[in-house]
């Protein structure tokens, strides 16, 4: 049977992709942020997953505002990255696992998550940058991928509580797949940031740290907040933090903390790397 080894979180902002592209990881501005990925990379190498499920939001590459699925699952054997209009170089295509994806879609539907199935799906920086931060920049990726896109762009977006429930359903879906796959879940985006309005530039370090602590040990805590409350505390784009809960929900309640890293600012955001491992 497929087994979830663990999960991790990563920022996915464009600046991370730019820094990797221009080899700035050891520049003073970036050093502490990228160095903090070291233990996460080591863990991932040791975990050696066959498939990663990447929970992210699209920023106007694959989905336009005409049809905006709340939750969309890639169900293909390949996912292409593409020009987003502002200069980040498209990366090598990412292999998928269609059979595994369709199983997840069926299981989620049985568990009353009415997911949008995508047989073609362009993956944008939200998906690509965490993979590059953790695996490097490769011509051939060593792992299969399943993209799971959450709408965090056009409100109404799903609640934190709903995302945690989706994670729990995702966990059941994955662990009911008959093949012996090792799976790791990436929860991307966040933490606090706001890109526009007079409050642009908001970072809430205290709230970010509290989110990391609670999502690790007591994720239900996050479900007390409405999306309005999260945006009040963490900024409009800080709402992306709800995607961490999809990852967290898929893991065991007593998942072990392997690594915690927080840095601010990275561009306009607070950035957190959390690695959690299921008890075997």
């Amino acid at each position: 049977m497929a087994r979830i080894i663990g999960g991790l979180t990563s920022s996915h902002i464009p600046a991370v992709g730019n820094a990797i592209e221009h080899n700035l990881q050891q520049e003073p501005y970036w050093k502490r942020f990228f160095d903090g990925y070291g233990p996460a990379k080591d863990w991932l190498k040791k975990a050696d997953p066959d498939v990663i499920v990447v929970v992210y939001n699209d920023h106007g590459l694959n989905f336009f505002l005409d049809k905006m699925p709340t939750f969309a699952l890639g169900c293909a054997d390949i996912y292409h990255n593409a020009d987003e209009g502002w200069g980040l170089k498209p990366q090598a295509p990412f292999p998928g696992d269609a059979q595994f994806s369709w199983h997840i879609a069926e299981s989620l539907m049985e568990q009353e998550f009415d997911i949008c199935m995508c047989q073609e799906m362009l993956v944008d920086h939200g998906f690509v940058n965490p993979i590059r931060a953790l695996y490097g920049t490769l011509e051939k990726w060593p792992v299969k991928t399943v993209p799971l896109a959450v709408n965090t762009v056009q409100h109404p977006v799903p609640t934190a509580a709903r995302c945690l429930k989706l994670g729990k359903a995702l966990g059941k879906a994955i662990e009911s797949y008959p093949e012996d796959l090792k799976v790791v879940i990436f929860g991307t985006g966040g933490l606090s940031h706001q890109l526009q309005g007079e409050r642009a530039g908001l970072i809430n370090v205290d709230f970010d740290i509290e989110c990391i602590e609670k999502i690790a040990t007591e994720p239900e805590w996050m479900t007390q907040f409405s999306n309005s409350e999260i945006m009040r505390l963490a900024g409009t784009e800080g709402i992306e933090t709800i995607m961490w809960l999809v990852m967290r929900g898929a893991l065991q309640d007593d998942a072990k903390i392997i690594h915690k890293h927080y840095h601010a600012p990275i561009s306009n955001t607070g950035a957190g790397v959390l690695v959690l491992e299921n008890q075997s």
Binding site: S226, N268, G270
Partner: protein, 133 residues
């Protein structure tokens, strides 16, 4: 017909991209979505005004596009991620826009962001268990 109010309406200096905003800015966002493609970008560059007409981008929105007033574009409700597709290649970053919203320079905006870095290691050490270099 009425747009209902929301708990987030009174968050200061904050504009949530919801149905009301997305509805009003649909055409401009649709036009900017095409900028993912190089051919569309060059067609736009040849005649911005005609390209706006093709997508029904009119009035104040069209003025913003033609005058490259990206900040006003955001104020009118254009989505930040779609705005980035026209603004970044023309030298206006998301940080430039953030700074302009506050009426400060981009350097001042970045300096404010960097204040979050102060004492970070100490704060994390106090909570405990964080990688700290």
């Amino acid at each position: 017909m009425v747009w209902k109010t929301h708990d987030y309406d009174d968050i200061p200096g904050t504009y949530v991209f919801d149905g009301k905003v997305a509805h009003a800015s649909y055409n401009i966002n649709k036009m900017l979505f095409t900028f993912n493609t190089e051919e569309c970008r060059s067609e736009f560059d040849k005649d911005p005004s005609a390209y706006c007409d093709k997508f029904g981008v009119t009035g104040e929105f069209k003025d913003c596009v033609v005058n490259k007033d990206f900040l006003k574009m955001l104020r009118l409700g254009c989505n930040i991620y779609f705005m980035a597709k026209i603004a970044i290649p023309r030298g206006t970053s998301v940080q430039d826009a953030g700074a302009a919203f506050q009426g400060i320079t981009t350097e001042e905006f970045q300096a404010k962001l960097l204040k979050n870095r102060e004492g970070l290691e100490e704060r994390l050490a106090k909570v405990g268990g964080y990688w700290n270099g």
